[in-house]
């Protein structure tokens, strides 16, 4: 067999996620103190798990409607209004998906024709560009900068818009930098987009994890709702990664098209997860507050620790990552992280795994206990001392 001729050229052109390579090394080693994981260390709160169990006990093991249980969509609509002031019609404007990931893919495939340009704000989560490529689109990387606190600026956005621009991917609060966009900053972005025919994919999966100020959705800004697909989910807010439950909210015209893709590809999100999600939305606000408080405590600890060892570290205001500058040691991000791993058995992710502009940085996750973080910081400090 000549597999290279057999397999789709498009798929073959995809590079495997840069993080994977690093994780493969890590998996071979014992006793690694890891700060790499991109998911909460909490277990899904018991009342939410119980709701899932109860649905199984009651035999709710069927498919639901394609866009998800009406009860769930109604709760999502209430939640979006309660927490972010967004209003969506549960009957036509909300789809329950397999994690945020499916919602991202649906939005991109529903909007992008071959040759269309998609502006991807970078550094970012690794799936947007491959999704765009698979849809035949052309990803246009828009690098954010440390001096702008890794925020998207109107000037930078304006500079990359062309007549072929179809979509802007706006991932804030941001993985890997922890940057957020305030209302004023989003107003600036909205001003650039307002009279265009460009859509926005607003990945708000970390919306509940902001520290010091509340998350603002671009869909809540004048003229933006009509062009925005809001992607959110249960993974980060309720520690439900393994349930694979996400959703999107968008104007009816967009939802109708995305629902077709979802229908043919997925049918519906898991019913057990839908019931658990209903419980999360109804009675989970306190859980969010508790976990957010814990993350904040770790965030402050880790930023302080990194600064004390002499690393420049911009103040992350969202998600559960810090993104220190490790450029001052004459090493690439890969070299730095590999040496840290081999010398001190501490694992952090090279920043370039999230886009070229992440070179010179590293992503450190604080979805770990404070004790775990303290051990890692101590070893990192020794490492920094040894390479100064």
């Amino acid at each position: 067999m000549d597999y290279s001729k057999l397999l789709s050229e498009n798929v073959q052109s995809l590079k495997p996620s840069g993080i994977r390579k690093f994780f493969d090394i890590l998996d071979e080693m014992d006793d690694v103190v890891s700060l790499t994981v991109g998911q909460p260390d909490f277990v899904t709160p018991w009342h939410i798990r119980e709701a899932g169990i109860e649905s199984l006990e009651k035999g709710k093991t069927y498919y639901t409607s394609n866009s998800g249980l009406m009860e769930l969509r109604e709760e999502i609509a209430k939640y979006l209004e309660r927490r972010f002031g967004l209003r969506y019609d549960p009957a036509h404007e909300i789809i329950s998906t397999i994690g945020g990931s499916e919602a991202i893919d649906l939005a991109i495939r529903a909007l992008v024709d071959p040759g269309d340009e998609v502006i991807v704000t970078s550094p970012c989560f690794v799936c947007y560009e491959p999704d765009v490529v698979m849809a035949g689109g052309v990803p246009v990387t828009l690098n954010t900068r440390e001096e702008d606190n890794f925020k998207l600026t109107p000037e930078a956005l304006k500079a990359v818009i062309t007549p072929r621009t179809k979509l802007l991917v706006l991932p804030f609060p941001n993985n890997p930098t922890g940057a957020i966009m305030t209302r004023e900053e989003l107003e600036g972005i909205a001003a650039v987009l307002r009279d265009t025919n460009i859509a926005v994919l607003s990945d708000e999966i970390y919306a509940e994890l902001t520290y010091g100020r509340k998350h603002v959705s671009i869909a809540s800004i004048d003229g933006m709702r009509e062009r925005t697909v809001v992607v959110n989910g249960f993974s980060k807010a309720y520690a439900m990664t393994g349930w694979r439950m996400g959703y999107l909210a968008a104007p009816r015209e967009l939802c109708e098209q995305m629902l077709k893709l979802h229908q043919f590809q997925i049918m519906c999100s898991p019913t057990v997860g839908q019931y658990a999600a209903i419980e999360a939305l109804r009675n989970g606000d306190d859980d969010i507050d508790y976990m957010k408080g814990e993350y904040n405590r770790r965030r402050v600890r880790i930023v302080k620790g990194l600064r004390e060892m002499g690393l420049e570290c911009f103040e992350p205001e969202g998600a559960f990552y810090v993104f220190p500058n490790i450029g001052g040691f004459g090493m690439t991000s890969d070299e730095f992280c590999e040496r840290l791993l081999y010398d001190k058995h501490v694992a952090i992710v090279p920043g370039n795994a999230f886009g070229e502009c992440g070179e010179g940085f590293a992503r450190i996750s604080y979805a770990y206990s404070v004790d775990h973080i303290n051990v890692a910081l101590e070893k990192m400090a020794e490492f920094i001392e040894s390479i100064k």
């Binding site: 996620s17 993080i19 994780f23 890891s34 790499t36 994981v37 991109g38 998911q39 260390d41 989560f125 690794v126 799936c127 990664t241 408080g293 904040n296 405590r297 402050v300 600890r301």
Partner: protein, 158 residues
Amino acid sequence: MKKLLRLLEENSRLSVEELALLCEKDKGDIAEMIKQYEKDGTILGYTALVDWDKTDLEYVSALIELKVVPQRDRGFDKVAEKISNYPEVKSVYLMSGGFDLALIIEGKTMKEVAFFVARKLAALEDVTSTATHFVLRKFKDKGVVFGQVPKDERGHGM
């Protein structure tokens, strides 16, 4: 402030800095509040939660039900205070229901605890009956589930 007390009850080793962050209050205010709580007896102490089964020390605990004769004017206070003096007695609660006082007693062996109940408690003048229930295994105590420290089995995600 309820939240501060809750946090300390859960983990009394949290620093003032961390508590201030979690309560969204000033560090100085938190320090002052703790001092006040200690002074007025709202916070009575800071302890560690030990799983004695993990050690090679002999350890047994029991719940004791006591029925007592209430005293004129002072009700159950006098006998409860008297029983509280024994260092073997870790907790004393006045209960509603079928008996009056519940005690938690710790000792090295079942025999030691049983003898303590028979010789000291049952012998008290106001105590009319005792029932001893030994703890066979602790599954959860003070909000903490006992057992193995869970392994981090999370996949990397992205």
